[in-house]
């Protein structure tokens, strides 16, 4: 053998370091995980975030409230609506701005459509992690319809900047209303297709059931939220626990599965798509008339001094903005509470002793968006 000895530096306990990422097909972005491996078993998994840190919090401190409007949707690009919603809502709460009911309904509709599209991306990417290619294309096919709908009213397809202080920037038109109704009709039979093709597949069931168990206690200790904690049997959902916007007016269930394994998290998300469709259907059917934005919104948002907080249920869990204002045009401090960060932090504990493919299934079931972790 020429050159250096084989790069299998084994520790005293026969382990070796496997560097997963920042460029690896299973990390879906620039997440790096330093795995200490004993053969194929994970001894220790140390996530190394920060490769796509873009200082979104600091950016909040050097631009006006209005100028920060596009930023939140760049944090978690897959559920941008809920993030923008939290941002405008914290300012509305601080300034005591009244939002017209039509605007609240539109916000709920776009947030839920966005949640469906986010879960569809997750479905495809997760199946890709498990080695199934075909569902990705099916999921993206359906997601395309949502993107087209949202493009029609927001002008963008991914990083929306649709929410405004006191409402939304464009009113919904007939095309959107008809398209949304058609989409809900289209999506219901597709859920059956996903069940037949993916959920009931014996290989998938064997790969996910009893794999990657996370207890409710672990979820609480690490602050995991969203489908992760609901997959561990805790019915925590911001839409129910701290109701906001028009959510109290709709009839929907919070899917909870107590098993805490990858399958439970999988089923939670699949069921959430169905529930989101229910909300969208109700909201679009009862869409109130009126303005889509409050009539008297100051051109330059000013917020009285104070410490404000607003949380929304994004596709990955609880997203919250804490804004501290000193009465100027520019906030004193913006703190983003991103769900992916908390969900990732339990990976180190939960992945101990797992085999590599199972650990990657667990990682996929957490549904991480890397810019959301790094902010």
């Amino acid at each position: 053998m020429s050159g250096a000895p084989l790069n299998l530096t084994k520790g005293p306990d026969e382990t070796f370091i496997l560097n997963l990422g920042p460029q690896h097909p299973a990390t879906h972005g620039v997440l790096r995980i330093k795995l200490t491996m004993d053969g194929e078993y994970v001894v220790r998994a140390e996530p190394v975030p920060g490769y796509i840190h873009r200082m979104h919090e600091k950016m909040g401190e050097n631009r006006t409230w209005n100028q920060y409007l596009p930023n939140p949707s760049r944090v978690d690009y897959l559920s941008a609506m809920a993030y923008s919603h939290a941002h405008v809502a914290v300012a509305e709460r601080a300034a005591g701005l009244e939002v017209p009911p039509r605007a609240e309904y539109i916000r709920v509709i776009v947030c839920e459509l966005n949640r469906v599209s986010s879960h569809l991306v997750w479905l495809g990417a997760f199946l890709l992690d498990l080695g199934g290619f075909t569902p990705l294309l099916y999921a993206f096919d359906d997601r395309e319809m949502i993107l087209d709908l949202l493009e029609g009213i927001t002008g963008s397809r991914l990083t929306y900047c649709y929410h405004r202080f006191g409402g939304v920037c464009n009113d919904v038109d007939d095309t959107f209303v008809r398209g949304t109704k058609a989409f809900v009709e289209h999506m219901r039979p597709r859920m059956k297709l996903y069940r037949d093709l993916v959920t009931d597949n014996i290989i998938l069931r064997k790969r996910l059931t009893d794999i990657g168990h996370i207890s409710a206690d672990t979820c609480r200790r690490y602050g995991a939220t969203g489908p992760v904690i609901r997959g561990s049997g805790v019915p925590y959902d911001v839409r129910r626990n701290e109701p906001y916007s028009a959510y109290p007016e709709f009839d929907f269930d919070i899917p909870v599965f107590p098993e805490g394994d990858c399958m439970a998290r999988y089923l939670v998300r699949m069921e959430e798509i169905v529930q989101s469709l229910r909300i969208v259907e109700q909201a679009i059917g009862r869409l109130p008339d009126g303005p889509h934005i409050a009539p008297k919104v100051p051109k330059i948002m000013k917020v009285p001094p104070g410490d404000y907080f607003f949380a929304t249920e994004a596709a990955r869990g609880r997203f919250a903005i804490r804004a501290v204002s000193d009465g100027k045009e520019i906030p004193y401090r913006i703190k983003l509470r991103a769900p992916s960060f908390s969900n990732l932090s339990l990976f180190e504990e939960a992945s101990q002793g797992m085999m590599l493919p199972d650990a990657l299934a667990l990682l996929g079931s957490l549904d991480l968006v890397i810019p959301d972790i790094d902010r």
Partner: protein, 334 residues
């Protein structure tokens, strides 16, 4: 006596024929696979290069050949270079004994079946060597997986082959097909008189063949969402290309052997068309099934694969073996 029957010409003809057949298959099965995958996924597949993307394999081959083969510093350069050859060469050897029709066979060897499995096993060792020589942790994990997967899958596969051997009484592939010539009810898969579990035996053989050729859902060795590209991670250009061709060549052989053993080889169920077309039709149907499975199922977990082998396939293949011997022995006792 035409010149085709003169021995050196015959050999030369078959060498060229086998090379061309393997090359064309490897290239165009990729095209078929990409087109089929496209159809499964509601997209078009390759369309740009040539009509219906038919020249895509040519473009891919030119691209691969024009790339530098990078031998990673510190790797075992000799093994690294030999491994792709060791995948391809045995696969080519196997084609020598496969009877495409009554008259088209390169070498009608009496131990043809044995030879195919002997050479077929080298493939796994080559992937292991390639992974080991790459000096890459992902490749080494993949190499370790390949070996344990192989140990688990050779056993049920060879057990089914022994079953078939008892039924046929010969290792000569030509003879095996000859015995099934009477019609489709005489095909081994339907010969329930010798063993009522014959279709199960076929399914076991086919499953093992999938695992043996590292195809989805058993593509542990390449598992790109886990191991990047597994044993092939460090291979570039034609180094990877030859591995890739070897993989497809092995699929072709596996399906050809399944056709010979279970589906009556060149035997036609209805009577028209020369036998070779029937052979190819059956073989390509099996290959299409392999592609179909790949684009439908997610990958199995590694221990799931081993569990399947040790807990289901091996007991079942042993059962068919015992059952067949009992069924064959009982009439002779009286």
């Amino acid at each position: 006596m035409s010149f085709l029957e003169i021995e050196p010409f015959r050999i030369a003809l078959y060498v060229v024929g086998a090379l061309a057949f393997v090359g064309a298959n490897a290239a165009y099965l990729v095209w078929v696979e990409r087109k089929a995958a496209g159809r499964f996924q509601r997209r078009a597949g390759p369309t740009e290069v040539g009509p219906a993307g038919l020249l895509q394999p040519v473009a891919d081959a030119i691209k691969l050949m024009s790339k530098q083969i990078i031998v990673p510093p510190g790797s075992d350069a000799l093994l690294f270079r030999i491994a792709p050859v060791m995948v391809m060469a045995p696969a080519l050897m196997c084609f020598a004994t496969i009877p495409f029709s009554d008259s088209i066979v390169a070498r009608n060897i009496d131990v043809g079946l044995l030879m195919i499995f002997a050479f077929g096993s080298i493939n796994v060792m080559a992937v292991m060597l390639g992974g080991w020589a790459s000096r890459n942790k992902y490749a080494i994990i993949s190499a370790a997986r390949v070996v344990s997967q192989n140990v688990a899958y050779e056993i049920p596969m060879l057990l089914t082959v022994i079953t078939m051997l008892m039924v046929a009484g010969t290792l000569n592939l030509h003879e095996i097909v000859k015995q099934q010539e009477a019609g489709f009810w005489a095909w081994n898969i339907f010969r329930l008189g010798t063993n009522p579990l014959m279709p199960v035996t076929f399914v076991i053989f086919f499953t093992c063949m999938l695992a043996e050729t590292n195809r989805a859902p058993f593509d542990m060795a390449e598992a790109e969402s886990e191991l990047v590209a597994g044993a092939y991670t460090e291979y570039s250009g034609m180094g990877f290309g030859v591995f890739f061709m070897g993989e497809y060549a092995n699929i072709v052989i596996g399906c050809a052997v399944a056709t010979v053993l279970f589906l009556g080889g060149w035997g036609s169920p209805v009577g028209f068309l020369p036998g070779v077309w029937w052979f190819l039709a059956k073989m390509y149907f099996l290959i299409f099934t392999v592609i179909w499975i790949r684009w439908t199922f997610p990958r199995t977990q590694f221990y799931g694969l081993l569990n399947l082998s040790w807990k289901i396939l091996i007991p079942f293949s042993l059962a068919t073996l015992v059952l067949t011997s009992i069924v064959m022995k009982i009439p002779r006792m009286f």
